[in-house]
């Protein structure tokens, strides 16, 4: 039996599953003051709180879409927990950078500035390619690789006849994206 005090939260989960994206802003507004108060209390800035809350909302969305989220407590508690962790890890990274200005010493893949730069470049490459493929393909790839939705859900949301059709469509979209990226790469070579 659904707990009464989580009734509103269950509705939020359902809306995320139904791909109702207006819930994103509502969640942010609802928990903005709570997260801000927490982060500012522990020495953070308002901007840190905004970033952390955005990350937390996105994480909730991904977890719900990939069926990894189970509503055990209120969504507010979950969001605050995620925002807190995101802000702490971000602060750890920035502190580490502040302590040692010599970037050469950061050899891990995660913190290597050069690798970060290359990664960012490749990200922009994909982002540009995504803008060039069809709307359905773009949505399908985002739903599968970013949101972690199942083929069953994608088929339902994109009005595809079956999960197999969705899977086939995903293959085609990936190829299309790859093709655009390769074409662009070749164009740059010549």
């Amino acid at each position: 039996m659904k707990k009464i005090w989580l009734k509103g939260d269950y509705r939020v989960i359902d809306r995320i599953r139904e791909n109702d994206r207006t819930v994103l802003g509502e969640l942010y507004i609802r928990y903005e003051r709570m997260v801000e108060r927490f982060i500012i209390k522990w020495g953070g800035q308002k901007e840190d709180a905004q970033d952390a809350l955005q990350e937390a909302v996105i994480t909730l969305w991904q977890k719900v879409c990939s069926n990894e989220f189970e509503l055990k407590s209120q969504i507010g508690t979950y969001i605050l927990g995620v925002a807190k962790n995101k802000w702490r890890s971000q602060r750890r990274v920035s502190n580490r950078f502040d302590r040692d200005a010599d970037f050469e010493k950061h050899e891990s893949a995660e913190l290597n500035p050069m690798e970060l730069y290359i990664e960012e470049e490749s990200h922009h490459e994909v982002t540009d390619a995504l803008k060039k493929i069809s709307e359905q393909c773009r949505r399908l790839l985002l739903m599968f690789y970013f949101e972690g939705r199942s083929m069953h859900d994608i088929a339902a949301l994109l009005n595809l006849s079956s999960p197999d059709v969705a899977k086939a469509r995903k293959y085609q979209c990936k190829k299309e994206l790859q093709k655009i990226m390769d074409y662009k790469l070749e164009g740059e070579r010549f």
């Binding site: 909302v57 490749s122 994909v126 690789y145 970013f146």
Partner: protein
């Protein structure tokens, strides 16, 4: 595991998404470490997935920011709408009835003033028992009020006619009041009341007042004198005063007549409700027998009589004469109501010499013959 199996089984994607089993993962990593082509394909796919995730996250952040702006704007608008709604409700609930009431009141006032100017004061129901002149005074505008006029009256073209009507009304009432006040003062009413008291066979306040009122009415030609409570009350007061004076005069006349028969002594210091033999004895001894007081040795009460003894052996006795037993509550005192003339007797040395009579606040001691 070979390249064909990896492509067919989507091992690159499943590995990157963490969906391979432990065994599959080990086999896949073993092959990829030896196969440059598969490794490149995996890196290519990794770049695509990473890029899609980055694009997804960036897009979603942008979407959130956009929604926040919209929601906050919407919230502001909602607040504006709420304020507007509240203002509208306030206007409907408070101002509209207030304005309606204000104009309704003004309209009624204008109509009533208009009617007032059209109907003469003589048509007012005279059966109503109050002073119209006072009411009219309170309703008439003062000089100050005239400067503060309701809009409806200011713009009313009938205003001069209404004002003229009110002024005429005030003038009439003033004349009527002057007529009444000219005969109202107590000094002018006094002779009429006195005359009225003399006229009835047995004068009382009601008949005297009624008579005086009629006389005043005929004398002053004031129509509403019977309906004027202040004049009637004043006449009643005056009649009461005159009647009391007349009663006192009657008593004094009666007393003076009786004084001729004997001596009177005031009873001011003694209760008139109760006649005590001791008091009578003292009054008698004080007045009649000076030498008796000086020689007074003792007083004594026996049954219903009080005795005074002197050194010379004289005896003065005060006693009740033929009073029924049931009235004698105390043998030496009776209530004034129970005392009739001739019921108190004084015996001096066994000789009836005097009879006591109580008249108002006086005791009359008169000599009686045996």
């Amino acid at each position: 595991m070979n390249c064909h199996e990896i492509n067919k089984g989507e091992f690159h994607e499943r590995y990157l998404l963490g969906k391979l089993t432990k065994e599959e993962s080990e086999a896949y990593l073993e092959h990829i470490s030896a196969c440059e082509k598969c490794l490149q394909e995996q890196l290519k796919l990794k770049k695509i997935i990473s890029g899609i995730r980055f694009a997804g996250k960036t897009g979603m952040k942008t979407e959130i920011e956009k929604q926040i702006i919209e929601l906050k704007e919407q919230s502001k608008n909602e607040w504006k709408y709420f304020v507007l709604k509240a203002a509208a409700v306030l206007i409907i609930a408070v101002f509209v009835p207030g304005l309606y009431y204000y104009y309704e009141l003004n309209f009624n006032e204008t109509v009533s003033q208009n009617n007032l100017s059209e109907s003469p004061i003589t048509e007012i129901d005279e059966s109503l028992d109050y002073d119209y002149s006072e009411i009219m005074d309170s309703e008439l505008p003062t000089e100050q009020d005239k400067s503060i006029k309701p809009k409806s009256v200011i713009n009313d073209k009938r205003e001069p006619a209404i004002a003229e009507g009110i002024r005429q009304e005030k003038k009439d009432m003033e004349q009527e009041r002057n007529k009444i006040s000219s005969v109202k003062p107590a000094q002018s009413a006094l002779p009429i009341v006195k005359e009225a008291i003399e006229t009835p066979a047995e004068p009382d306040i009601e008949t005297t007042t009624g008579f005086a009122a009629k006389r005043m009415k005929s004398a002053s030609s004031v129509n509403s004198i019977e309906q004027n409570p202040s004049i009637i009350l004043e006449l009643e007061d005056k009649a009461t005063e005159v009647l009391e004076e007349k009663q006192d005069e009657d008593i004094m006349r009666s007393l003076s007549e009786k004084k001729a028969l004997g001596k009177t002594y005031p009873l001011q210091n003694h209760s008139i409700d109760t006649i005590d033999q001791n008091i009578i004895l003292r009054l008698v001894t004080e007045s009649l027998k000076i030498e008796f007081i000086t020689n007074l040795t003792r007083t004594e009460q026996k049954h219903d009589s009080t005795y005074a003894y002197s050194k010379t052996g004289d005896i003065l006795k005060v006693y009740w004469n033929d009073i029924p037993e049931k009235y004698i509550k105390n043998s030496n005192s009776l209530s004034a109501e129970e005392i009739e003339n001739g019921k108190i007797l004084i015996k001096y040395n066994d000789t009836i010499e005097h009879q006591i009579e109580v008249i108002n606040n006086y005791i009359l001691i008169k000599a009686i013959s045996d």
